[in-house]
Structures are given as structure tokens and as C-alpha cells.
Symmetry: C2
Subunit: 198 residues, 2 copies
């Protein structure tokens, strides 16, 4: 799907965008986010500052080059879920499939450290998920034939999209996600005391 659909123009555009994103990530990892200016990035990618802003909406967006439209994925997960399966299970599987690999990729350890240690990026990353809450809520509501802004659906969407942020930084991402979805499915129960001596 790449060769005939993209003319020279779009190919060059994509290349420029990629060059900017690569240069940005490299510099950020080298010097830290706050010690790299947009000008630095532009020069490293050999483009002008204005070009950077034509490709990215702001400095934070330079870091999250890839994870863009997961709207489609979320909606598909809900709509094309296995017959007879619940929406909750479908969303759990989707989160496990799409988020786990990214979060656990060993080449991303330094990337995650960069994000974690930069307040602006932490905030951006959190909002990145929650920003899709509206779309997901509408998709869920559509499945049940209720108003697109049905409160229960909006709440579920929001809670589900909180899951990655909550699981972030836990030892076992997978079981963390499962525990969160367990709460959403059956309600919150007071935790029991851990075995003494741990």
C-alpha cells in the first residue's frame, strides 16, 4: 500500500517528518528534554524552525511521533469484538495487545525514563490517552443503542483509558491491567493485608 499510493511529494514529506522526529528523540535522550530547543532540533534535522511546526503541533508532540490515532483501534476493538463477548473483555484484550508491547519493549526503557522524568511529557502522555475518551465513549454507546454521551459509557471509556497510566511503573504490567479491569467488571473491593514479612 506504500508504493503506488504515495507520490514523490508525500514520500519526501514523510521522510522530512521522520528526520525531525529522529533528530528530536536523539537530542532529547542525549541532553534531556528541557535542554534541547526547537531550534536545536531543526538544525539537527537540517530544516527550518517553521518546518518543524508544520509537522508537529508542539514540542511535546515531537516525542510521541508514533502513537497517534488509536481512535480507530479502540473503536474497532469495541465494534468487532468476538461474538457474544463483553465490551469490557474486548477492551482489556485491546489494551493488552496494543499497550503492553510498547510499554515493555526493552529498547524503550530509556524512552520511558525520559518521559517519566519530564513533567511536561508525563502530562502530555496522560492526556494522550484520555483525549480519546470521547471517541471511545461514543463507540460504546453506539453498541448499546443509547445516547452518544451516555454517562455510564463515558465513565467506562475514561476508566479504561486510565489503565495504562495506572499500570505504568508496576512490576507486572499484564496482571496490573487485569486487576484494573477486574475492578471495572465487578466493583472495587477493599484490598487484603499482604502476608507479613515481605
Amino acid at each position: 500500500m506504500s508504493e503506488p499510493t504515495m507520490g514523490r511529494r508525500e514520500r519526501k514529506k514523510a521522510a522530512t517528518r521522520q528526520a525531525i522526529a529522529d533528530a528530536a528523540l536523539r537530542l532529547f535522550l542525549e541532553r534531556g528534554y528541557d535542554h534541547v530547543s526547537i531550534r536545536d532540533v531543526a538544525e539537527a534535522a537540517d530544516v527550518s524552525v517553521t518546518t518543524v511546526f508544520k509537522h508537529f503541533s508542539g514540542k511535546e508532540a515531537l516525542v510521541f511521533d508514533q502513537e497517534e490515532s488509536m481512535d480507530a483501534g479502540l473503536v474497532a476493538a469495541v465494534r468487532e469484538r468476538p461474538a457474544g463477548g463483553g465490551v469490557l473483555d474486548a477492551l482489556k484484550e485491546h489494551v493488552l495487545r496494543t499497550w503492553l508491547p510498547v510499554a515493555q519493549h526493552p529498547q524503550r526503557v530509556e524512552f520511558n525514563r525520559l518521559v517519566d522524568s519530564t513533567p511536561a511529557l508525563r502530562a502530555y502522555a496522560e492526556r494522550m490517552w484520555v483525549r480519546h475518551a470521547g471517541t471511545l465513549a461514543a463507540a460504546i454507546a453506539g453498541e448499546f443503542g443509547v445516547e452518544h454521551d451516555n454517562l455510564a459509557c463515558a465513565a467506562l471509556a475514561r476508566f479504561v483509558l486510565d489503565a495504562p497510566a495506572l499500570a505504568q511503573g508496576r512490576r507486572d504490567h499484564r496482571s496490573a491491567i487485569e486487576e484494573i479491569f477486574e475492578i471495572l467488571a465487578n466493583g472495587w473491593q477493599p484490598p487484603h493485608r499482604p502476608a507479613p514479612g515481605t
Copy 2:
């Protein structure tokens, strides 16, 4: 507690802060958040730009002058809850008591419209609540004698603090909050179709 504790100095400082906040809110409501610069605010309050930043951490903070440390209130709600009562109920009551009056105050209609129509302020308001998730999570965990970062407690804290954002913009704030806590207590259930013809 106000007269003897505050000398002239602190009184003047508080007055300056209030003058800045008042000028800011007035201008924001008049012209819209994005069409007012910090310089405008400073001039309207007859102080220098740097003074504004000495009192407020940033432009958004000018709008949320009042609602600052609710950490203490959240922790108290959990710790001093009625004997035998569940944490969930205590938190629900606390949200209803502290958030409802503010959100419904009729004098705040234009204020809410300002926040709602300004993306930067929307984001700030949302984070304002979620920012206390760590404190609340630790308080809940403390009540049950588990590790301070217990996942179930962190998840509950987060979900509870999502409630105001979710209830915002609904017709009936109170029942919205109650519906959200119902989900947290008993799990999410698919919504039923609304009566046709509404």
C-alpha cells in the same frame, strides 16, 4: 485568626494577590482567556509582570485562585469517615459536599463557560483533581494497612478523582456522581436502551 496573625506586610501581600486574581478573572471574562496576556493582567492590577509570577505559578493558575489544597480534605474524608462506613461512600459524600456547591453556584455559570471553552483551562482543571491521586491513594492504602502504592487503591483514587470531570456538563450533577460511584462499587453494567421517543 486573621487580625493578630497577619502583619501589615502579609495583609498587603494578600491584597496584591487578590487584586491580580480579580483583574485576571475580570479581563478573562471580558475578552476571553486567549486574548488577555499576562502583561494585560499586570497592568490592570497595577503591578509588574514578574510580580504576577511571584504570586501565581502560571497563567492557568490565575483562574483557579481558590481551589488549592484539597489534599487534606480528601485524606480526612477517608480517615474520619463514619464508623462502619465504607471508603467508597465516604468519598462519594465528600465529592458531593465539596464539588457540587462549587459546580452549581449560579454565580459561576460564566466562570464555568470560560473554563469549558478554553482547552488550556479544561486540561488544567482536570489535572487539578487527578494531581491529588497519589495522596488519596496513599490514604486509602493506609486505611487497609497495605503498601502505600497498592494498585487497587491507586486505581480507586484515580477513578474517584475522575468523577468531577465526568459529571461536568451533565444536567443533574448529583445523580451523575451517584451513578459513577455505583459503577465503582458494583462494577460496570451495559446500559439499557432509553425509552423511544425522547
